[in-house]
């Protein structure tokens, strides 16, 4: 299949991209890594009039660490994150997750900003953003603003980004000493979208869980924090009884929807299995 006709502009700067977005209203789309946009064009599922290519903007690419946070440029490739020693040292769960995104060829092109701005409900990064309480910086010709991940994912492919805004960077708070994190996903083949996936983070002090965050992807129309299940785990040792109590809340927390191969019941069951396994890893001595 061939894409329908479209115009193409390579942005010379983030400001240039924002100006182009303003000039073309809703008929323009930002092209970053292209790993979702190009297939959707070729399948003629979307027909933008203009693609604004930001892929050459070096200012948007890279990982750096401040005193309080890790800042990941929106154009940073999945593969960059996968190979980053900084990410591996401070957020091993994110490094693990990067390796599970699709296949190497896709990871070499696809970007974290693209993944978050698209908000595919089956993608890893949006859920990671919830679990690690990340914030996003968006810029437009009007200036810039910071958006909490918890306020960002509104629905199926729907985000808090406004028309004219470009996602610039992702901000990950540096973990406290006691924070642990675990990532897991269930895919039938390596590289597939997960039937269910999750990130669980918590501070583990003397074996007790606190500030637990459990973010799921692939189960609903958007990534979700399982709020009731998180509360059920807080203050527990992540033992079987606590996990069983937490699992009992997942249906209300996630309200899973069926996909092509998996019913709501399967999704719910697998989300529960995943939660149990990730909590076990968190709570394990030395986890």
């Amino acid at each position: 299949m061939k894409a329908p006709p479209f115009a193409y502009r390579r942005a010379s700067s983030v400001a240039d991209a924002c100006a182009l977005l303003d000039a073309h209203g809703g008929s323009a789309r930002i092209l970053a890594g292209g790993q979702s946009l190009i297939p959707s064009l070729n399948l003629r599922l979307s027909q933008p009039e203009l693609l604004i290519d930001i892929s050459q903007l070096a200012e948007l690419r890279g990982i750096r660490v401040s005193a309080t946070e890790m800042i990941i440029g929106a154009l940073t490739r999945h593969a960059d994150i996968e190979r980053s020693a900084e990410v591996r040292a401070r957020f091993p769960a994110l490094a693990d997750a990067a390796r599970q995104i699709a296949h190497p060829a896709i990871r070499n092109r696809g970007t974290i900003g693209g993944s978050i701005a698209l908000a595919d409900p089956a993608a890893e990064w949006p859920a990671a953003a919830l679990a690690f309480d990340m914030r996003f910086t968006a810029v437009s010709t009007q200036g810039e603003r910071s958006i909490a991940a918890t306020e960002f994912f509104k629905g199926l492919y729907e985000t808090a980004l406004l028309p004219g805004e470009v996602l610039r960077s992702i901000h990950v708070p540096l973990p406290a000493a006691a924070q642990r994190a675990a990532f897991g996903e269930l895919t039938r083949r390596s590289g597939d979208y997960a039937i269910a996936g999750a990130f669980v983070t918590a501070s583990v002090t003397g074996g007790w869980l606190g500030g637990t965050r459990a973010a799921f992807f692939g189960v609903a129309t958007r990534p979700l924090l399982a709020a009731r299940a998180m509360r059920a785990l807080d203050g527990s040792a992540g033992d079987a009884a606590a996990v069983a109590a937490a699992r009992a809340h997942l249906e209300a927390d996630l309200d899973p929807i069926a996909d092509l191969y998996n019913s709501r019941a399967t999704k719910l069951h697998l989300a529960g299995v995943l939660l149990a396994r990730l909590v076990a890893r968190l709570a394990a001595p030395g986890g």
Partner: protein, 791 residues
């Protein structure tokens, strides 16, 4: 006596790992696939396809598309029908079979989602697709027949009213008295097996460029295809062009698996439009079109039972097979073959006499189905092997031991199965013994037991198999299909002493050309590097059937052997005249004419060839060297030359998630004489991978209205490298006596046995849970349901 001159020993490439000559070219990106071809004045086509599974076309307006940029021509089904006559796909040996006339482009009514309803021709493919979007079609949706279980119900609409019902074909086998045998059985096991509809997924999609030259009424079709001569006959018939004026060229073909051996309406449309317009027209199916228009296969529901006596011997098998084939039987091989194979092959590895089989083949509003790698075998094998393991488990007999008691004895041939299949010579027990040794079966069972105690649930599954190969005319010719069951090989001695070989069997990536080169080099007595093989051109090569039904090596290889021997005899006759020696005392070894007794070189082949081509004036007047030969071969001793083998799968099931991990796979098979062990092993491995795909991942999903739900490779799951287990292969060689070469086919045995082996392994792992699965693919959800983890 003088000291012996170092002589040349006879050498052969048969049985040797020989790298294929075309691998370097293909890996270098220098293949010549249809899409690589550029012709002057060519135009690109795109199709408007029905979004409905079943709908009447009430209005079709091409005028907006005609005004679109770059558009050259637009046509409806009626327009294309001016050039291409419709067809009906039945064969006379399938008694009572029926189907409806099918047009290249739908006329008035679309019968599956994806059927072409209009064709657009433009300067570029993108322009053609842009214009296709502008075509205005109004549809009146009609009720879609999707569930094969209700396709024959009185309340279900009949897709083709002229046919009276939705039954395309039915066949029964009854050896008599079977009910009594079941009544007397010590044990009867019953299961219902379901098989997901799937498709072949070639790396290279279907592709065609058709070029019609009105000045000579000459049609040239460049086609990704397995059977060029079959297509030539069909193009000639349905475009009303003399067959001799039709040339079909299939150069490099990027995978086929049976997908590219059928008549596709969109390809017929391309040829028809090329004739109408007198300009080259090109078209490649994109992936979505491939998923909705390449033939599908394997949608079956089989109710089956097996009777067993007190000693664990099979006494009877009964099956009821229901299969849905889409709205039309596919031309010209028909869509009855798969179900027919299930009837023929179920249980046929085993020694039992009482058999009942009933087959119903029904129409539905889904993509048409037809022959795909290992046609019917994976279903027949999984049904029998599932029943065998079920019975063994109920009797408390080890599955390997149960097979030992029931597989046809290796000294009991020729043998005719309860279903009527004739076996020349099989080696089930030798293969079983070798397999059990290869996998160290007792140790594996011990490991399984030890791990089970630790909550790790592994399973071992066996699956014996037979495979239809080297078919005679019994497959198609006797039913009236103009598909050759013989094949030819033409050899030409070049003045350099090299040999150019042309064969009717075709190359789709499996190494046909390498195989032919090895046979020719061995038969003639020259280095394999001195043989150049040309395939896939109906204008220049010998007439033949092509490559399907695992016939390339067994039929095409034999023709190459016979041709090679004759060319060698001709060369030796020439050498005898040149040397003034008796040709009977000469031999040809490694491109040297040698003294047959001592191996002493007496004349380089190149010198003999030079004289034969350039200096016949130096030869006696009555001697004319014959430096080109053609030999044909058709297998006539048996309807099919069966092969056999056995596979084993070792899996780990996660009872919490329902996930299956493939740990290892073994296969021992007997394809007779092995020409190239590397290529045979590649065939087995690839075949196993495709069979594993059926067991674990592949299924074309439709909703109740006949909408295809997984038309991309993100949603339709093919087996991929990361999930493949190590495969350990072994061989037993029982050459067929129906040919000099003794080679049988090897292309489909892997696919035939793998699904049953994986199913049995999963069920073996599930034994402690009293759970059992018989519906492929074995998704996590299906396992979780069997385990009672979800409702």
């Amino acid at each position: 006596m003088n000291a012996p001159v170092p002589g040349l020993a006879p050498t052969t490439y048969i049985g040797q790992d020989t790298p294929r000559a075309n691998a370097r070219r293909l890996l270098a990106g220098r293949g010549q696939y249809v899409d690589d071809l550029r012709l002057p004045r060519e135009l690109h086509a795109a199709f408007v396809r029905s979004p409905h599974a079943h709908a009447r076309i009430t209005r079709l307006d091409l005028s907006p598309a005609r005004k679109s940029r770059g558009v050259f021509w637009c046509g409806t089904g009626a327009d294309v029908a001016r050039a291409v006559s419709p067809w009906v796909a039945t064969l006379t040996h399938f008694k009572g079979m029926k189907s409806a006339p099918q047009y290249a482009v739908a006329v008035d009514r679309a019968t599956w989602q994806g059927e072409a309803v209009a064709v657009i021709v433009a300067q570029t493919r993108a322009q053609a697709e842009d214009a296709a979007q502008l075509v205005e079609v109004e549809y009146e949706p009609l009720p879609a027949v999707t569930d094969m279980e209700t396709a024959l119900d009185a309340a279900t609409p009949v897709i083709h009213p002229d046919l009276g019902d939705n039954l395309a074909f039915t066949r029964g086998v009854d050896t008599g008295g079977v009910a009594d045998v079941f009544a007397a059985a010590h044990l009867v096991v019953e299961d219902t097996f379901r098989f997901g509809r799937h498709t072949g997924v070639c790396l290279e999609p279907r592709a065609i460029t058709a070029d019609y030259n009105p000045s000579e009424n000459q049609l040239t079709v460049y086609l990704a295809n397995q059977a060029p001569h079959m297509m030539r006959d069909i193009f000639a018939k349905h475009l009303d062009i003399p067959e001799a004026n039709v040339r079909v060229i299939a150069r490099d073909v990027g995978g086929s698996f049976g997908i590219k051996v059928h008549v596709y309406p969109d390809e017929m449309a391309i040829v028809g439009v090329a004739k109408l317009l007198g300009r080259p027209i090109r078209y490649s199916a994109d992936r979505l079109e491939s998923m909705s228009t390449d033939i599908h296969a394997r949608e079956h529901r089989v109710r089956a039972k097996m009777g067993v006596d007190r000693d664990g011997r099979i006494t009877a098998i009964e099956i009821d097979d229901l299969t849905g084939i889409g709205p039309y039987s596919v031309y010209p091989r028909t869509s009855a073959v798969e179900g027919n194979q299930v009837v023929n092959l179920t249980g046929a590895a085993y020694d039992f006499r009482h058999y009942v089989a009933n087959l119903r083949v029904v129409f539905q509003n889904k993509t048409p189905t037809c022959q795909y790698r290992a046609v019917g075998h994976p279903i027949a094998m999984a049904v029998a092997e599932g029943l065998v393991d079920h019975a063994a488990q109920k009797l408390g007999i080890d599955p390997a031991e149960f097979r030992r008691r029931n597989l046809i004895a290796d000294d009991n041939y020729p043998y005719t199965s309860a279903s009527g299949m004739k076996f020349e010579a099989l080696s089930h027990h030798a293969c079983l013994d070798k397999l059990l040794a290869l996998m160290d079966y007792p140790a594996l069972r011990a490991e399984q037991k030890a791990l089970r105690a630790r909550g790790i649930h592994r399973g071992i599954g066996l699956a014996a198999l037979i495979e239809v190969t080297n078919p005679s005319a019994a497959f198609y010719g006797v039913g009236g299909a103009r598909i050759s069951s013989q094949d030819g090989c033409t050899l030409r001695l070049e003045p350099t002493g090299w040999v150019t070989a042309q064969t009717g069997v075709t190359e789709q990536g499996q190494g046909t050309e390498a195989m032919i080169a090895q046979v020719v080099a061995s038969a003639v007595g020259i280095p394999v590097e001195h043989v150049r093989v040309i395939t896939g051109d109906t204008d220049t090569g010998p007439y033949g059937g092509g490559t399907w039904a695992s016939r390339g090596a067994g039929i095409g290889g034999e023709a190459a052997l016979l041709a090679g021997r004759e060319l060698k005899a001709n060369i030796l006759a020439l050498a005898g005249v040149i040397l003034n020696r008796d040709a009977a005392g000469l031999d040809l070894r490694r491109a040297q004419i040698v003294d047959a007794a001592t191996g002493e070189p007496v004349l380089p082949l190149a010198e003999a060839a030079r004289i034969g081509q350039y200096r016949p004036d130096t030869l006696p007047r009555e001697f004319q060297p014959q430096l080109s030969v053609t030999r044909q071969f058709g297998q006539r001793d048996w309807p099919f030359v069966f092969t056999n083998g056995i596979q084993a799968s070792y899996v780990e099931v996660d009872p919490d998630t329902g996930f299956v991990k493939l740990l290892k796979h073994w296969m021992v098979e007997d394809c007779g004489t092995i020409i190239n062990p590397l290529l045979v092993d590649e065939q087995l491995r690839g075949g196993i991978a495709q069979g594993i795909g059926a067991a674990l991942w592949e299924e074309v999903l439709y909703d109740a209205d006949g909408n295809l739900k997984n038309g991309t490779l993100a949603d339709y799951l093919v087996p991929m490298a990361a999930e493949m287990p190590d495969m350990v292969l072994g061989h037993v060689e029982t050459p067929t006596r129906s040919s000099e070469l003794g080679a049988k086919g090897a292309g489909e045995a892997g696919t035939a046995g793998a699904p049953g082996a994986v199913m049995n392994a999963i069920n073996d792992a599930l034994l402690p849970f009293n759970a059992r699965v018989t519906e492929m693919p074995f998704t996590p959800e299906r396992l979780l349901r069997a385990l009672g983890k979800i409702a």
